[in-house]
């Protein structure tokens, strides 16, 4: 060989060796340090922005606490969150991106049933376990999907407490109204089933389109039907509008309950004393005697400087449950984690967790509260009640 060739050979060889050494060491170091990336799309803008942001905070707190305790499987937990703008189609696109481009190790669910339903197809396609803490529509979990897991109680039992309390008092007639969208429809069907089982007569069952603001005709019919109980499966603005117009048209049931929205502090802010006596359903209250409540409340307050809503609690619990399953499985492998999630029975600060073979939640219980003197008092079930229900609801003109 010539001198030049020798020089190239030796120098090249040295550089190459150094490169390989660096890469191996670097890669080795990187692998050991690489965090577990959990991807999710959450509604940070659009109509679901508020509850979506709360859910994200729950995820973040969970990750922070896991990392403070040394991480999971020796690795730190890191959330990669995108904004799906409260739109199912955007959510689908984002989960595809998270799984195929960002190559996340795991995914967690988005906010709301419609978006969860849409993105569940993506997580199933790529066989990624997805714990979906904020989807309550039964049908999502009963389509033969294998990798999706439910945390909160299904829509059908949201107003179970209202029906139970009414039946125990011997009330006979019930009217059911609902917004004509996925969750509220399921909730209304659930109430109807429960009411029929308890021997109550459904005098009126009607849906109204999303965005409906004028309930005069509906309420005129309700007034004529004169039910003992009105069960309204609502979101927030319709709950407010319906309540206001009930007062205007002087519709006076003995019990009146709403679903989502009735538990928000804004409900009282907007309606003030008109919200008194109204029953609401909630997946979680921080006053419930579940283990770890105080610690969760304190940690949340420290990190976010305010009290958590149930969406935060659900997000937090969902993440905790997922990481628990990962630890038990000893790996991130979807089938191993899935096996653990199917077997797991636990009680977190959010309540009980146990799923059936479809991943459908069977243990978690809703609680019902009633607005009393500007505060939410838990009135059902009896084991968690902090006060007695004020019954019957007095007519509007006598308050």
């Amino acid at each position: 060989m010539t001198t030049t060739t020798k020089r190239i050979f030796y120098q090249g060889g040295a550089v190459l060796t150094a490169l390989i050494a660096a890469l191996t060491l670097g890669a080795g170091a990187a692998l050991a340090q690489a965090p577990i990336k959990i991807g999710a799309s959450i509604s940070l803008t659009g109509t679901y922005a508020k509850p979506g942001t709360y859910q994200k905070e729950g995820y973040e707190l969970c990750a922070q606490e896991a990392n403070d305790k040394g991480g999971v499987l020796g690795r730190k937990v890191e959330f990669v969150v995108y904004d799906d703008q409260s739109t199912p189609a955007t959510g689908v696109r984002l989960y595809e991106k998270l799984i195929t481009e960002d190559k996340v190790d795991a995914v967690m669910g988005p906010y709301s049933s419609p978006i969860t339903e849409a993105v569940a197809n993506v997580s199933e396609k790529y066989k990624k376990v997805m714990v979906s803490p904020l989807a309550s529509t039964t049908s999502i979990f009963k389509k033969g999907r294998k990798y999706i897991f439910m945390v909160i109680s299904p829509a059908e039992v949201y107003l179970e407490g209202l029906v139970d309390m009414a039946a125990k008092r011997g009330l006979k007639t019930i009217a059911i109204v609902n917004e004509d969208t996925l969750f509220t429809k399921s909730s209304a069907i659930g109430v109807a089933d429960l009411a029929k089982k308890r021997g109550m007569q459904i005098v009126l069952q009607e849906a109204y389109p999303k965005g409906n603001t004028d309930f005069s005709a509906l309420l005129t019919k309700l007034k004529a039907a004169n039910p003992d109980v009105i069960a309204a499966s609502t979101y927030f603005d319709d709950a407010v509008a319906l309540t206001r117009q009930m007062k205007e048209l002087n519709v006076n049931p003995k019990m009146y309950g709403v679903t989502v929205g009735g538990d928000l502090p804004e409900f009282y802010d907007l309606l003030k004393q008109n919200s008194e006596y109204i029953y609401g359903a909630t997946q979680w209250e921080h006053t419930l005697p579940y283990p770890g409540q105080k610690e969760f409340m304190a940690a949340y307050q420290t990190k976010f400087k305010r009290e958590p809503a149930y969406h935060s609690a659900a997000g937090y619990a969902g993440c905790v449950i997922y990481l628990e399953a990962v630890k038990k499985a000893g790996s991130l492998d979807a089938d191993k984690v899935r096996e653990q999630l199917l077997k797991l029975e636990t009680r977190t600060m959010f309540g009980d967790y146990k799923v059936d073979a479809d991943g459908f939640q069977v243990a978690h219980k809703m609680v019902m509260f009633q607005w009393q003197d500007g505060k939410k008092v838990t009135v059902w079930p009896d084991e968690f009640a902090t006060g007695k229900a004020r019954y019957p609801t007095p007519p509007w003109n006598q308050r």
């Binding site: 508020k50 009126l204 603001t213 005069s216 005709a217 603005d237 509008a241 117009q245 007062k247 048209l249």
Partner: protein, 292 residues
Amino acid sequence: MTPVITPIMLGQVIVSGLLAGALYAMVALGLGLIFGVMRVLNVAHGPLLMLGAYVTYWLFSTLGLNPYLSLLVSMPVVFLIGVALQRFLVRRVVDAPELSSLLLTFGISIALVNLAQLAFTSDLRSVEFITGSFLIGPFAFSKSRVIACLFAGGITALAFLFLQKTRLGKAIRAVSQSREVAQVCGINVQRIHLFAFGLASALAAAGGTLVTVMVAIQPEMGAVYTFKSFLVIVLGGAGNYPGALLGGLLLGLVEQLASLFLTTQVNEAVAYVLLVLVLLLRPTGLLGGRST
């Protein structure tokens, strides 16, 4: 399952429908003005209503200003916003095919809604000012709706008087009929366009102000009013101003009656069925007008 419908119930519902209809009529009149004068389909009409609502909300929550008094602020403010939109954006598509104006105003509506979301957040707001109802015999009429109807009726009447009696109003109607001839007659068409867009925006804003005490205020609240205004315009006849009034009242009535005799679930569908029927049987609208 549905209870028997008594004359009292019917009466209650008819009045409710008319009350709502007056509001639709006022807002739709604005949309009709823009179409009549400029042949522009203003998809951003709803967001303009939303802006009027927010002006009222902020005045109420910071200064405690009576929402009905805030009409004196929300209408001029949004009038100016409308004029600015016309001057800098809409003017460019006045002569273009209708698809261009649709696309542009659609873009404006997205921009306005998202700006509002950034500025005000999506939090639901409300103005707690007047609740309860007037009780007349067996009928109960929501106070806020009655007052809204009275204001809407008044504003619409003033708008009509303006269009009929004043020079500027007549000029607007002239431009609606034929832009070329109006120009030949010495009317400054550009200024008419600016003014008409501003006036239409002010009418939308008035609608927004009046509904603040009734519905939740949030950036996307205007969308439903855009749709209803389009319905009203087609029902009454595009470019036909009294037609907007008739169409509005008709829509309000149809919605409530459908809710009463059928179910509330289908009241939107019934309105659209009515639309299809009108388009099939009388495409120029009930009172006639330019065909779209």
